[in-house]
Amino acid sequence: MHQLTIAEMIRGLQSKAFSSVELTRHLLARIQQLDSNYNSFITVTEELALSQAETADQRLAKGEAPALCGVPIAHKDIICTNGIRTSCASKMLDNFIPPYDATLVENLNAAGTVTLGKTNMDEFAMGSSNESSFYGPVRNPWNTLCVPGGSSGGSAAAVAALLVPGATGTDTGGSIRQPAALTNTTGLKPTYGRVSRWGIVAYASSLDQAGPIARNAEDAAYLLSAMASHDPKDSTSLNRSQEDFTAGLNNSVAGLKIGVPKEYFGEGLNTETAARVLDALKEFEKLGAELVDISLPHTELAIPAYYVIAPAEASANLSRFDGVRYGHRCENPKDLRDLYMRSRGEGFGEEVQRRILVGTYALSAGYYDAYYNKAQQVRRLIKQDFVQAFEKVDVIMGPTTPSPAFELGAKGTDPVAMYLEDIFTIATNLAGLPGMSIPCGLVSNLPVGLQITGNYLGESHMLNVAHQYQQVTDWHQASAV
């Protein structure tokens, strides 16, 4: 049963081939049996899952089932879940139990999903390897000596290990697409504003966006259709009507114009990774697509711009963790300043502290224009690169990451080496565009991801393109376990 896709589960549940309780029990048992190898879950919500599954079965019996009724999923532990600990993989929020659901959780609950638990991640979503979690690193099901990527590493690993058919993630600079690439899963970051950020612990508000990680594009389309909504509680939420992202999956891609940016195939790209990506592009040519050489000249500025904007916004967002209203508080504070200083010094891990300090520097008196304002200007230049490219092409493709999964500890203590991991994914966030990663081959038995970047609000088209590729290839079916 754990090998079924979400689409297959929906059919099985609706035809009464199995019940949601049976499916849920099966996956819970698998998590209990196997997850000590991966550490992909922080919290398993057995009781809640079984009660949601029972309700789902009742609705299925009555023929009142919504789209995803009875389908088990997991949520990244940055997404607030009513009555269930939401830790952000931080000591700071180790004891935080939100009294409300995030909008996207409400939406998925309304669609009938069953919550199996909360997945591990880099602390406060700051990282690309899942090594900064307070609960220990996640291991890649393809090779447990390797990282699964991050920050949504737990969600990606849980899907790759067939513990759950789909999971939610968040992506601020690549945190859905990069782990999807490293674990042979299909991950999608929607257009900024497509999925409500309300109830997601904020990292960098102008970049954060939630999306699905699943085993194929069709399943990602099912999840996104339920997650996306206009939400008056998120002031940056886009006011667009609900879409069924599965509707266009079967459209032909003949005549599709694929932009191939020369900057994404330069120095630093693993030659084997490049070869797998070029093979995928050839496959698209066979489907009738046309490859168009394009240039995104400001590509190399994406990482520097990101490491001003994201830390600056993080330093403001994370100021709310003060040891007063919720979260970790130090023992015996001697005064209020001591309470703040030690609670935050003890509660935040190294990388989180580093980004807060960088952000504080970038926003401090006299530096705002030189750093934050400058980075926001560069951000517009990066966006314009894409706007110009999309005048000529329908989608843009390239590698998701420069190389396959690396070993735990391989990037050492140098944060900058880790930052370069997101070189191909960050620009999409800065521009606010939708992006995906889909499996396109293996290098030394480690997965390679093909990144597809769509135009604004082009999720449906991007999913269609990915689905058509997955109809003629079987890389997405290759399994780690």
Partner: protein, 95 residues
């Protein structure tokens, strides 16, 4: 760009994060590495480029000033490390 330990101490004070004596050199070095990375931005000509804050240049929406939330005071207070009689408790601020 090098960052001296005095600058780190000032930043730590602004950000209200206690940093131990033993780690401050290491923190300074790492911050220096990151600032060196982001200093690439300084070489870019951005004359006349408007800073971008929302990718789709959406503007702030307005809503009517109506009560939509229910009173959940106690459930929020329950999350606090220390509270009493409906108030958050902190160490004495005024003598």
């Amino acid at each position: 760009m090098a960052v001296d330990t005095q600058t780190v101490e000032k930043l730590a004070e602004l950000a209200r994060i206690a940093i131990s004596e033993e780690t401050i050199e290491e923190v300074s070095d790492r911050l220096g590495d990151i600032l060196q990375l982001v200093d690439q931005l300084q070489a870019v000509n951005t004359d006349g480029v408007a800073p971008m804050s929302h990718p789709l240049d959406e503007v702030q929406t307005l809503r009517s000033d109506a009560i939509t939330e229910t009173d959940q005071r106690q459930s929020f207070l329950n999350l606090a490390p220390q509270s009493e009689e409906g108030l958050y408790l902190v160490p004495k601020v005024i003598d």
